[in-house]
């Protein structure tokens, strides 16, 4: 029993799931149990979007201090426009649209890495510069774009299996693959090794630059995928569709128990943290709180959680 308890407290991400359940219970108590199913489905769907980009951000942050991708919101915005434009509302082009969005995201991720490597600048500055550029491309490319997603793609976000949206199950599958990749593959172990000590990893024969390149590319690709999915879910693209994912992607990683100092990642925690943050918003909505109160509460909760969890070193 004590062993079980120790095991329980040794896994900080369990707290994020408990927080999510608690917030969900409070909302249900407030509504008297009405709308539980709808609330759960909405929470799962919105959490899935945060998890997709959170995964990419988690691998990047795990590379060690200073590694973070600030270009995700711009990337997501551009990808949503690219996906909608390529699909052009036609079911036949769905796959091409998704692939184009992912390819665009991958290109942005690789360009991020190229800037970091070629200019020898901190990733924060590289991805920040990149986000300026991508944002402008998106504004010029996607302005006034009113293309609706193809009917089949829009319907896809409503498909259910045993009451759970199919795309949520897909994201869960991606998470499982990522968890296995992190724990059991050369790639995952290399990322963590670099995060713990880049020089030691290099001396041990880890292909440091190749792994970093792959990680930034992966993060960009997941951002692109998220852009396409969001455009389907919200029935259209927009320049600021990805704005909230700057904080969300970093917050789910940190609250989910991944070390901001790098070298220690946690995949299940992403889901707990994402559900917690989304359910918090839903709870405040059911209370009838207006936008300003929701913003203040979300900010304070994130600060409170990180303060309680404590950090070890700077994300710089």
């Amino acid at each position: 029993m004590t062993a079980l308890r120790r095991e329980f407290f040794a896994k900080p991400w369990i707290w994020s799931f408990m927080g999510a359940v608690l917030v969900f219970m409070v909302s249900l108590a407030f509504t008297g149990g009405a709308g539980a199913g709808g609330m759960a489905v909405a929470a799962l769907s919105l959490a899935a979007f945060a998890v997709v980009v959170g995964l990419g951000q988690m691998f990047v942050i795990s590379l060690g201090p200073g590694n973070v991708d600030l270009s995700l919101p711009a990337n997501i915005g551009l990808a949503s426009a690219v996906a909608m434009k390529i699909m052009g509302g036609s079911d036949a082009w769905i796959l091409a649209g998704i692939l184009a969005a992912c390819a665009g995201g991958l290109a942005i991720g690789l360009a991020n890495y190229w800037l970091i490597r070629a200019l020898r600048i901190p990733p924060i500055i590289a991805t920040l510069s990149m986000s300026f550029i991508v944002q402008s491309i998106d504004i010029a490319y996607g302005r006034g774009l009113q293309v609706k997603p193809p009917p089949a793609f829009a319907d896809f976000t409503d498909w259910r299996l045993l009451g759970i949206p199919v795309f949520v199950l897909l994201v869960i599958a991606i998470t499982v693959v990522a968890a296995i990749a992190l724990d059991r593959t050369l790639y995952g172990r290399s990322v963590l090794a670099i995060g713990q000590n880049m020089r030691a990893a290099w001396l041990a024969g880890v292909k440091v630059e190749r792994i970093r390149c792959f990680t930034y590319g992966l993060c960009g690709l997941l951002g692109g995928l998220n852009g396409a999915l969001l455009a389907a879910y919200f029935r259209g693209s927009s320049v600021d569709i990805g704005n909230e994912y700057l904080l969300a992607s970093i917050a789910v990683v940190v609250i989910g128990g991944t070390s901001v100092a790098g070298g220690r990642a946690n995949v299940p925690g992403l889901w707990g943290a994402a559900l917690f943050l989304v359910l918090l918003q839903i709870m405040l909505n059911t209370f009838g709180a207006d936008a300003s109160v929701r913003l203040v509460t979300t900010g304070l909760v994130i600060i409170a959680v990180i303060t309680a969890a404590g950090g070890r070193r700077q994300l710089r």
């Binding site: 504004i139 917050a251 300003s292 979300t298 710089r316």
Partner: protein, 320 residues
Amino acid sequence: MSEIVATRPLASLRLSPARLRAALPFVSLALMLLAIGWLNPRAISYLGFNLMLNLAVPVALATIAQLFVITVNDLDLSAGYFISFIACIAVTTLGDHPFLGGLAIIGSIAIYAAIGALIHLRDLPSIVVTLGMSFVWQGFALMVLPQPGGKAPEWLQGLMGIRIPFVPFPIVAVILIGLVGHIILMRTPYGAVLRGVGGNSAAVARAGWSVLSARILAFTAAGVFGVLSALSLVGLSTAADANIGAGYTLLAIAGVILGGGEFTGGRVSAPGAVAGAVTLTLASASLLSFMRIPPDWQIGANGLILVIVLAVRAAIGRRP
């Protein structure tokens, strides 16, 4: 980052790359002015500078605010919405109840100081904490001013409308801002401790200085300059909205980096940062419109300038 500190004495032996790097922000600014003068000679005039550089004042102040935080190796992602919040206070409470408005502003600076203390005491990543705070300030701004509007106090509009003979007021203002930042960071013991914390906080602590106080000082200074930025902004715009300063977070970071500031190690330059801020203001507002490039590309131009300048810096040599 300890290697940088260790090789620092070498800078005096190989002067030329170091000098080139220090001159880079000012060379970029000069090139920018040359390009503008070539495209539109009439812009290089008393009136032209007054118009082109008006917005450089709040941007330069926001850049100095960010500079203080970057000096101690932190990053402030809440700066933009903090400026928004203060701007909203300035166009509402400050005009009607100056005492209450002033109290709110002082209280906000105290919150900034507290954030610095929290980051230090719990050893938290500043990015996450200030990202959280950006939501808080945005929420506060919406509470104070749900709809765009309000009216800046007369004295503030008057202050920003000052016209002095021969030299355009914004030029005097930004030079003064750079000078004040330079004196605080380079000519006072506090500045030396701040830069020391950025370079090697353990050494500073062992020398008997309080790193906690240093970090509180840095965030307080950031709060004060953020307030000044917001006040000068509404002095120009006369009205405000909850998103008025949203773009300033990234613009200010870009200004610091453009101005030759290193991201870690406490190596910063206040005059350089101000030059960087002015360059970015000129690029996004004036150069593009003279080149007849649509405003869609404003933000992108800033990113491109950042990349180009950093590329030149890398070419000169990363470690002088």
